[in-house]
Amino acid sequence: MGLENKGPDRADRVTPGGIAFPGTSLENRTGSWRLMRPLFETAPSPCHAVCPAQENIPDYLSLMARDEPRRAWEVLVSDNPMPAVTGRVCPHPCETDCHRGRFDAPVSIHSVERFLGDAALREGWPYPAIPPLGEDKVAVVGAGPAGLSCAYHLRRQGIRVSLFDQFPEAGGTCRIIPDYRLPSLVLSGEAERILGLGITFYPGKKLGRDVSLEELEADYAAVFLSPGRQRSRAFSVAHSVPANLHHGIDLLWTWKNVGALPRWDRVVIVGGGNTAIDLARTLLRTGTGEVHVVTDEEIPVDRESQKGWPMPAIAREVGLAIGEGVRIHAGRSIGRLLLREDRVVGVELVHALKELEAKSPVHRAFPGTETVLEADQVIPAVGQDLDSEGLERLLKSRDHLAVSNDGRVEGNERIFAGGDAVPGGGLVSAAIGSGHRIALKIGALLRGEGPSAVPALVPLPYSGLNLHYFDHGSSYEPMERAPGARNGFDEIETTGSSDLIRAEADRCLSCGHCLECDNCWVLCPDGAVLKTAGFGNLPVPYLFDYEYCKGCGLCARECPSGHIRMVPEE
């Protein structure tokens, strides 16, 4: 009797001693027992769901964690072509929502993002997956982050793009972000890399002045408008306007374009946004003696316990500004300008509160609480409006472009708008996200595809994780210059080392995404999870063998990252 041969008759004829042969149990298809079926299912991570640029964060963190930075960057730029910029300037709501924050500390996602962006600029990595140019042409107005993003994502669909901007360089409002926060070379590096994809860039061409909307409509299959907000809002207090008034945004442009600013003794900046904070810190760096910021909003820390509206400036930057000596008068508004002749000598501050009521903030000031602050300059940084030149036909009587849900300017089939020019903008990452979304809509339009609904991402809840499988550990703290050493425009935060960033990326809990940890493979009592590594380059790391899976649900229960879902068998 040859034991090595299983023999054809063995199921029909008894064997002396009743022996059975190895692995013959495979004939017993225990999958027929199953009432519930496990599925590998990628659920959106909270970081992905909240990211204004829709970055698929767990995917690139995972690649970075495996020390594959280039592939990580390629995943990253499939959504956001400017990670070196957003890694620096985005307030990273991804980290606020990061489930790891409830476990120990959130993953420093922005540190990974900027590391990858910097690595790509340094190494000259080209964008992946750029197809040849086709016939369709689209005009994009405004080369800020929204316009650049839209141009890039159109180009990724093989669409020819003409990009118009009133300024001589691409970058839009990002160009006035001070270098200690965003070095000009980083911005221009990423902008030029986009333009280098074969996008026709028309600098110094302003809509309404150099080119008309009608011309664009005639020459291009579609138009994307992302002109930003370039016009400073009028500023006055009780109908008085100082003679030597400078708007905050203009001063930031002056600094970038000229490289010099007046030196005042004592300045009061009005406003709570990024322009106010950027300017305050720039002035301190360029020789102004004292910088005060007055805002009726509150300092954006510990927001839970506050009743007032927070300053819209990035919280972290507000904190750094305070550390550098900027004096912030929060919860105050200016009751009166103290003028000698038409020159400012001081301001009268009054306690104020900006509260959210019925969906919009309400401003309240409380007489009897006035104090005086001497100053030789008052600088408004209270926001900008859309420059209506060339857009009159679209604006009608409004001060903003009204767009429908799909990004079309209302009443126009082939004109789209995004970025700061439409309500809800403000963040660089949101602008990039809007450019991306609309590029896809335009692509679909040009290809004659119907509207495709993009469902809202419902993130995996914290309870969907199995945290038993994670160790608490220290998180990456970005290196920062000490306040005393921040007198120049060198960047405050530095890019982390490869080792530290890889370790930080590895802290990602991979919410809703496969960690490839082997847990399901190891723990299945029925050997019904098969690992695909090294087997014909399958696109998934594991497969269920439903011939044998009994549906016990153990894999789903023990999946650390919530990547397995049990569904009833039909």
Partner: protein, 410 residues
């Protein structure tokens, strides 16, 4: 080489000549000398084997089951309570068709406690699926032991070599021990077809459903038909080498044509033969010795009893409430034959009670008056039984009058 040896020592040397690789045993009287003998041979480097001194007979049987399954020729020995403690494993060894040789130094089974010889132990496991061969003397014990390994390994059934405790195991006799070359010529190295091996793994000892259980049992039973042939061929081949036969399945001596016969198993045959030769039996008697109780040689028995008008079957064991076990089987084997002899069943030699020439003469006399299904107890002394009307009402009434539990015989 002829030598004066104690039976146990002779058996130990015979086992050693068979080159077992694993010996496992637990001490029990009267088996101990056999295992001690093997232990000495191993200690002296005369036998290269693993001696596994287990913590029970249950484990002794289990160890040889494991060792033989892993491909090593394996041997164990036991007796009495030890055989019964092994019982579950004995069934298992046979059902798994694992070749193993066991020497049963036959002894009575408690209670009452007796360390002396009868066949109750091996009879208790007669249905366990083991080949059972009963030895008439120590020379046969040696020769049967050697034959047992070949039989066992050829038919893949375990063999129990039954040797009367004390009567044989502790008796010095002149023994012809074969030399190693003779045994090697007779017994090839053990090659188990179902040897456990990580190179060709399989699963042994599986759960068999009612759909196949009958076929499994049939296979086991059918193997005993082959075993009968192997017992005969082993005896024949061995006699060709050693010049001695052990009697095959069943042996007939005495007055071969006599109409009266006596059938026995084991060493009592020597007593019977002596009585016959010295004329103490008082009449011509055909002497029949059943060597193979399993397989039970029905055809050979019918031949051996041909022409008999009456037959005494001596049982050295008892199935209480039923009678002699061997005699039942003999009756069953002869049932329906037109000239089947009348059979007297005698239970005798229990718990070491000597059987003498007079005992057999009494049996033969009883045969003249016996009914078809009579059961007699050899040498039963009615005076040693409680009086019929004196059942004690309390333990105090039953207390012995004498302090000596072993009163001298008159």
């Amino acid at each position: 080489m002829r030598d004066i040896l104690e039976g146990s020592e002779a058996i130990a040397r015979a086992v050693a000549l068979c080159r077992p690789q694993v010996v496992a045993a637990y001490p029990i009287t009267p088996q101990t000398h056999i295992v001690e003998g093997l232990a000495r041979l191993i200690a002296d480097g005369l036998l290269d084997a693993e001696l596994v001194s287990v913590e029970s007979e249950f484990s002794a049987a289990s160890v040889v089951l494991g060792a033989a399954s892993a491909g090593s020729r394996s041997y164990t020995a036991s007796a009495s309570q030890g055989i019964l403690l092994m019982g579950e494993v004995l069934y298992n060894i046979s059902g798994m068709r694992v070749p193993v040789v066991l020497t049963c130094a036959n002894r009575a089974v408690s209670a009452p406690v007796s360390i002396w010889n009868d066949h109750q132990d091996s009879m208790a496991v007669r249905d366990s699926g083991w080949i059972q061969l009963y030895c008439a003397d120590n020379q046969e014990a040696v020769d049967t032991t050697i034959q047992a390994f070949r039989i066992s390994e050829r038919v893949e059934l375990p063999v129990m070599v039954c040797v009367d405790g004390f009567t044989l195991t502790h008796t010095l006799e002149p023994i012809d021990l074969p030399d190693q070359a003779q045994v090697d010529r007779f017994l090839p190295p053990f090659r188990f077809t179902r040897k456990l091996s990580s190179e060709h793994p399989f699963s042994a000892g599986t759960l068999v459903s009612p759909d196949f259980f009958t076929e499994m049992r049939y296979l086991q039973h059918a193997a005993f038909e082959q075993a009968a042939r192997e017992i005969l061929s082993a005896d024949r081949d061995w006699s060709g080498i050693a010049g001695r036969s052990c009697g095959g399945l069943i042996a007939v001596e005495g007055d071969r044509e006599a109409p009266t016969g006596i059938l026995v198993m084991g060493s009592v045959f020597g007593t019977l033969l002596d009585a016959h030769r010295s004329g103490d039996l008082g009449r011509p008697v055909r002497l029949i010795r059943l060597r193979s109780f399993r397989p039970f040689p029905t055809e050979a028995l019918r031949k051996a009893t041909e022409g008999l008008a009456a037959l005494v079957v001596l049982d050295r064991s008892l199935s209480p409430g039923s009678g002699g076990i061997v005699s039942h089987e003999v009756r069953s084997a002869l049932y329906g034959l037109p000239s089947a002899p009348r059979i007297l069943s005698v239970a005798g030699g229990l718990g070491g009670r000597d059987l003498r020439a007079e005992s057999f003469r009494t049996m033969l006399e009883g045969l003249d008056h016996a009914g078809e299904w009579d059961l007699r107890f050899a040498d039963l002394d009615p005076d040693r039984l409680p009086k019929a009307d004196s059942a004690p009402e309390s333990l105090a009434d039953a207390a012995p009058k004498s302090t000596n539990p072993f009163p001298e015989k008159e």
